[in-house]
């Protein structure tokens, strides 16, 4: 109940900002932060709960973005439907990739997910209709009432998506699915011998995680009015999603939220005040600092601090 009150307060706050804030840049920057909250939350479902480290975030994110762009170009589909379609497409990619790769463990799974990014990028570079290597220019439609500008609307869409993604992750974490995922992360054989259908659970986690990443990617072409393969399938998304979850802590749904907000906000500030190159460095430095000083992330750090008092 407290969770839903919190979610309602968050939506109200975001709506308030959307109505009253005048500076477009606020929305432009916050959109990115919120997008990384969704990505980190989605990553954590497979990477945190099940312990399968996934570097394939750009593949799912990019497929979602291209699904949105192509459907808009072909049928002028409204944004809501683009997001649903992106969720389905990336979810299916997760399922399919999962069937091929989830029998691999540890480092081998991680390598397979990087290969997935390369495959997806190559596919879209060679697809003329979707713009090929040069990309696709898109004209934004008029924003829906009551929004003043399209960016404000996208900000609100992302604010809602954060609630959706976190609610799904939280549900999985607390349900018997989450317990099964934790069991298989600790020992896959012991989980099987305790009746946990490990392959089925991993496929489910991979599909939901991928689907949410795709949904987060769907509004991207409209956000930039442009889409092209190299930046869409950029490994920075993989690192950002992973780092957000690791810095925040992977054992609780709040971890990726805190981590992504912290990391992504710092990145936005650094991009504006210093340079776009330094912002990538920030991810690396923060990740190293946390791995050394607080290996269980922000929430692990606070748990330790609370129990030592």
């Amino acid at each position: 109940m407290r969770f839903w009150i919190g979610a309602a307060v968050w939506i109200a706050l975001a709506a308030g900002v959307a109505v009253f804030a005048k500076n477009e840049y606020v929305f432009f920057a916050t959109y990115t932060v919120l997008m990384f909250v969704v990505l980190a939350t989605a990553w954590n479902i497979l990477g945190g709960y099940a312990g399968y480290v996934n570097f394939g975030t750009p593949a799912f994110f990019g497929l979602g973005a291209y699904t949105g762009a192509v459907l808009y170009k072909a049928f002028a589909l409204p944004l809501g439907l683009q997001i649903v379609a992106a969720f389905v497409m990336s979810g299916l990619l997760g399922l399919f990739a999962g069937i091929l790769t989830l029998r691999l463990r540890g480092i081998f799974f991680a390598i397979a997910t990087i290969a997935l990014v390369v495959i997806m990028e190559t596919l879209f570079i060679n697809w003329r209709y979707a713009g090929g290597a040069t990309g696709l220019q898109l004209l934004r439609p008029a924003p829906l009432w009551p929004f003043q500008s399209y960016i404000t609307m996208l900000f609100m869409v992302m604010a809602l998506m954060v609630v959706g993604a976190v609610a799904i992750a939280r549900y999985i974490e607390r349900s018997w699915i989450g317990r099964g995922l934790r069991a298989l992360r600790d020992s896959e054989d012991a989980a099987e011998c305790s009746g946990v259908p490990t392959l089925r659970l991993k496929l489910f986690a991979c599909a939901v995680s991928g689907g949410l990443m795709g949904a987060a990617g769907a509004p991207m072409p409209m956000y930039l009015s442009f889409i092209e393969p190299a930046s869409t399938f950029n490994l920075n998304y993989a690192v950002g999603a992973l780092a957000g979850a690791m810095i925040g802590g992977t054992s609780h749904w709040i971890g990726p939220v805190l981590g992504a907000v912290l990391l992504s906000s710092v990145q936005q500030v650094v991009t504006v005040t210093i340079s776009n190159e330094i912002n990538v460095l920030v991810v690396g430095v923060l990740l190293v600092v946390f791995v050394v000083a607080a290996p269980d992330g922000i929430i692990g750090f606070f748990r330790k601090w609370l129990s030592s008092k």
């Binding site: 992360r185 020992s187 012991a190 011998c193 009746g195 259908p197």
Partner: protein
């Protein structure tokens, strides 16, 4: 009819034949001992029965149904539970929560009923005071009891205990033996794999000895120790 039929099971790893043509029938309610020197294939056989490994030829029939191609979790749901030789608790969970996994996935209890039953099992195993402890903080004997407790939580009809007593002291062995006798008295068929001879001999009604992946002897405990093949396998000669 036998509860478990192992029919001509063979398993090899690359060129190494771990099991060759092993056939064993185990009756409902039996206390069955499986012995053999290190590397003789005991654990491989158990892995094939529980489904963590797939045997290449032969079949495994449990309660009249062929389970040879069934996944491990399906076999557990069908009534075969096991403990692991090297304890594999769910380290990130408490002792109680370890038991909640099979209680949720096999018995399909809701959280409240699962907790009650988990506490009952821990009580029987003498682990009740550790219910809230993180499983990574347990001692060796507690870990082995947890292995058995978690297997019990799946409400099995066949329990496979893979070296549950290795490394335990004399009184601890007695403690675990008593638990296994009690479980058997409540109708559960038990396969015991053990290196501690005195324990297997006391517990089992029938013993099979494996050597280099083959059955070399099957007899009552009193006879098997006198068998020259068994003595040769253990002592060399």
């Amino acid at each position: 009819m036998a509860l478990l039929e192992i029919n001509n099971v063979s398993k090899s790893f690359g060129g190494f034949a771990a099991l060759t043509d092993v056939s064993i029938d185990i009756a409902q309610g039996e206390r069955f001992g499986l012995i053999g020197p290190n590397g003789s294939g005991k654990t491989t056989l158990i892995n094939c029965v529980s489904g963590t490994l797939q045997n290449e030829s032969g079949s495994i029939v449990f309660d009249g149904a062929d389970v040879t191609r069934k996944a491990a979790y399906q076999r557990t749901r069908g009534g075969i539970a096991r403990s692991f030789q090297i304890p594999r608790p769910f380290f990130s969970m408490s002792v109680l929560e370890n038991l909640m996994v099979p209680l949720g996935y096999v018995v399909h209890l809701n959280n409240k009923n699962a907790e009650t039953e988990a506490m009952n099992i821990l009580e029987r195993m003498g682990l009740a005071d550790k219910a809230g402890a993180q499983s990574s903080s347990l001692s060796q004997v507690e870990l082995r009891k947890l292995e058995l407790a978690r297997a019990m939580a799946a409400r099995p009809r066949l329990l496979i205990s893979d070296e549950a007593m290795a490394g335990l002291s004399g009184s601890e062995v007695d403690e675990v033996l008593k638990i296994l006798f009690d479980l058997n008295a409540s109708g559960i068929t038990i396969i015991m794999i053990e290196h501690i001879m005195q324990a297997v001999m006391r517990f089992s009604q029938r013993v099979v000895c494996l050597d280099a992946g083959r059955i070399i002897c099957e007899a009552a405990p009193a006879e098997i120790v006198k068998n020259p093949e068994v003595q040769k396998a253990y002592l060399g000669a």
